[in-house]
Amino acid sequence: MTWTSSRATEGPDQDAADVARVLAGETAAFAGIVSRWQGPLVNMAWRYCRDRSRAEEMAQEAFVRAWRGLKSWRRESSFSTWLFALAANVFRSELKQLPAVNLPMEEITEPAAAAQQLSVLEERRRDEAVRRAVLALPLRYREPVILYYFHEMDLGQTARTMGMPDGTLKARLARARDLLRRRFPHLNEGFVAASHFKRNEEVSQ
């Protein structure tokens, strides 16, 4: 899953050309931008709310705001950085109006079995519980986590999207991971899975 980086290298020229056409009055040229970025934006919105229909509504709103604000894209930053930052603002304000999860962190329980004993189904349920627990984190920790994993653990890209220094982002991510680890203590037992994941990651590089 490398949409954030691949799209950025795939079509920066197309993005710039489409933006120029839209600003010249050719509204239909915006379809090119939407078709290139609809996947990333819907997925980003999904991570904010974990509700498919709502994610599409939020992504749609982000595209409309992007269309309205295309003039404000100064080409100093890449189109993707500008678009993600704009979308993050839209999603943040949308969720302030109607929070995605009102469940306190304490009420999200970890499945009873230890990590090594989990069946595939139980593991999936536990993984989903962890993902939902992210939505119960305080906003200052929740958003860095959402964007960090959306950007495939690229700290710099996440910091640019959030408009915050790398150090602040690192501190918030560390705190968020501490909170999640406290909620899901069995995850600390998942060394085998983690090292397996690392091996896979190295192979894929």
Binding site: M1, T2, W3, T27, A28, F30, V34, S35, Q38, G39, V42, N43, W46, R47, R52, A55, E56, A59, Q60, F63, V64, W67, R68, R92, D127, V130, R131, V134, L139, R140, E143, V145, Y148, Y149, E152, M153, D154, L155, G156, M164, K170, L173, A174, R177, D178, L180, R181, F184, L187, N188, G190, F191, A193, A194, S195, F197, K198, E201, E202, Q205
Partner: protein, 136 residues
């Protein structure tokens, strides 16, 4: 995905930089937009494009009215103040006698109160601003 970026994250008890939390959150399923998504966005964009630009506020026409209203309000405030001052002259106040030692202590106390009030106001303003950014 660069492992170098997140290796510095492991500040807890887990010595392994690739934590289970990383594995779970990084392997979140990808959601494909529905087939009508592009059309829905473009329909909204076309709708917005077809909507005429909002009519700008007619400042040129409004300025005389605003000036007139300001004059009327100012004149009213002046009359009210004049009336209050006229009535105030009919009463006489006698300030309680304050000893000289207490008076000299009151002046720095006043400055302290003023400084505290200024600090409180700036704290309220700063926290409101910070809340507005959504970062705090």
């Amino acid at each position: 995905m660069s492992s170098g970026t997140h290796s510095g994250m492991g500040q807890g008890s887990n010595p392994n930089p690739v934590h289970s939390i990383d594995r779970i959150l990084a392997s979140d399923e990808a959601l494909a937009p529905s087939s009508g998504f592009l059309a829905a966005v473009m329909a909204r964009v076309q709708e917005e494009a077809a909507t005429p630009a909002p009519i700008p506020f007619p400042w040129k026409r409004a300025i005389p009215g605003i000036v007139l209203a300001a004059c009327v309000l100012g004149w009213g405030a002046y009359e009210c103040l004049r009336h209050v001052l006229q009535n105030a002259q009919q009463f006489s106040f006698a300030l309680p006698h304050v000893p000289a030692a207490a008076e000299s202590a009151l002046v720095p106390a006043g400055w302290v109160v003023l400084a505290l009030a200024a600090s409180l106001l700036s704290w309220i303003y700063a926290s409101r601003m910070a809340r507005g950014t959504g970062l705090f």
